[in-house]
């Protein structure tokens, strides 16, 4: 009974994902989506991977991290170095895994001392940690220092990015709706109460932080191989803030909101390409307006849920008959 009911919702999600894939495919075949728009869609996809992971850390575990770009850099350089040496698809997928593992190790090293801090202190400490990662990359030979890496082979085409968006989102959403996710929510709500309910607060904070870092590394791998060129300056504090903006704009604690915000910002950004210097002004105005009229973000903490949609429909049918 329970399995069947859940199967229905899972199939709905699957249909949605497959439909999205074929819609995109069809639009490219027909020529509606040219290379400029494809670039926009892939950028949106990469931003979604990043922001969903950060939303797990900030919105669900309640830890204000400002170091997301650092973990992204780890993934990006793992992929760039590996596939520059051996440009095969196998090496590409292996490099994603290597990036994730290195990012997990980095997140553990960063998380152990910093996650004992709270709020602003944590934000500053994680920001510093991300800068350390960036400066290490800046000074290594293997990463080609501040000038960055070029002509990275392109394995991350839009279908690869699309699948990665789906996979990382499924992992994070499923984590949120499980034992660990509930423990993380308890930590966000009230640490003392969570601790008194037998929850190892530090462990679950760290788990959410590490999972967020792992997905950021995946996004980094995608970016390196899609754009084919990376430099340490791509992963500075402004990148972390750009991801934070998506999370806050969509709604802290809403994965659906993150999708919506990443899409809106991606489209606005692309549409303003021709406005030159005015672009950042308009971009900032959009942000200010949304924050004034919807301070909790576009979606607040609401989520798109097939379960709720079905229940609502059933209620309506029930009311009519």
């Amino acid at each position: 009974m329970i399995l069947k009911a859940n199967l229905k919702y899972n199939i709905c999600w699957l249909i949605l994902m497959v439909a999205g894939f074929y819609l995109m495919n069809a639009l490219i075949l027909v020529g509606v989506i040219d290379s400029f728009l494809e670039n926009m869609v892939v950028t949106i996809g990469i931003n979604i991977i990043l922001a969903v992971g950060l939303n797990l850390v900030i919105g669900f575990a309640g830890q204000f991290s400002l170091g997301h770009a650092g973990f992204m850099a780890v993934g990006a350089y793992a992929t760039a170095i590996m596939i520059s040496k051996t440009p095969t698809a196998g090496a590409f997928y292996l490099s994603i895994i290597v990036g994730v593992i290195v990012a997990i190790i980095a997140a553990l090293i960063v998380g152990f001392p910093t996650l004992r801090l709270r709020g602003d202190y944590l934000a500053i400490a994680t920001m510093g940690a991300a800068e350390i990662i960036r400066i290490i990359i800046n000074n290594l030979k293997i990463t080609n220092g501040p000038s960055g890496m070029f002509n990275i082979p392109q394995f991350a085409t839009w279908p690869v990015v699309y699948i990665m968006v789906c996979v990382t989102t499924i992992i994070i959403v499923n984590f949120i709706h499980s034992r660990g996710g509930r423990a993380a929510l308890a930590v966000r709500e009230d640490e003392i109460a969570a601790e008194s309910m037998g929850i190892n607060v530090f462990k679950w904070k760290l788990a959410a932080f590490v999972l967020g870092a792992a997905t950021a590394a995946v996004a980094g791998s995608m970016q390196a191989s899609y754009l084919q060129t990376i430099a340490p300056s791509n992963f500075n504090i402004m990148e972390s803030i750009a991801i934070l903006i998506i999370v806050v704009l969509g709604g802290v604690g809403s994965i659906t909101g993150t999708f919506v915000a990443a899409t809106i910002l991606g489209v606005v950004d692309a549409a303003l390409q021709n406005f030159g210097a005015l672009r950042m002004v308009i971009y900032a105005l959009v942000l200010i307006l949304i924050m004034i009229f919807k301070p909790s973000g576009i979606m607040g903490s609401k989520e798109l849920s097939f379960k709720r949609l079905f229940n609502r429909k059933n209620k309506k049918v029930g009311a009519k008959s």
Partner: protein
Amino acid sequence: MTTLLNVEDLVKNFGGLTAVSDVDMHLNDDELVALIGPNGAGKTTLFNLLTGVIVPSSGSITFRSNDGLIPLNGMKTYKIANLGMGRTFQNIRLFKELTVLDNVLIAMTANYKEGFLQSVFRSPKFYKTEARIRQDAIELLKIFGLQDDVDQLAKNLPYGIQRRLEIVRSLAMKPKILFLDEPAAGMNPEETADLTRLIRQVQRDFHITVLLIEHDMSLVMNLASRIYVLDHGSLLAEGTPTEIQQNDAVIKAYLGEEA
């Protein structure tokens, strides 16, 4: 009757202030004990010491578990909780933005396992585990008449129900000792009577030891088999309700010196 929790010479200093000094107490299996005292006597501090929220300056707390005696001094709060100590808070600390069901499920975290891969890739076992613990949580909520509020956010519940949910949440941990910090605070006489019945029922049905801080003397005298009186951080008296009611030192502490 065996001693479940034993406290010896417990001291807590905050800088120059001694909040709890030389407290000796013990809790036996399956009994209901009350801790009373004037405001600022150190009752909540003592609770926080026993549950590990704050670390004692000196003295010892030992807990008798199935594997022998365990010293609790300096042990992490969550570990103490998982040994079987549930608690509620004086100023309600529910997970306000979460549903009633989630509040209870969270307290069960230590009682079941779900592997990371299992929950992320949704194996059939995951659904079975989830269904089972949900069922357990709902059963528990039913006992307290909260089964219709499972999907409500905790912050939207009326005050009395929130207090009740906090008790349910701490019971979900399957505790051996339940610490209740002023469960009747802010309740009217009718609600208090209701709560008195509930606490007695919980203590009897779940066979747990309850330590209760309360100012409402009707509740304390009705429920407790033993009472500890705390004043200025030290133990003033210990005894049955009748003994405490006739104890001169206690009367003095509550009403002041006779004129």
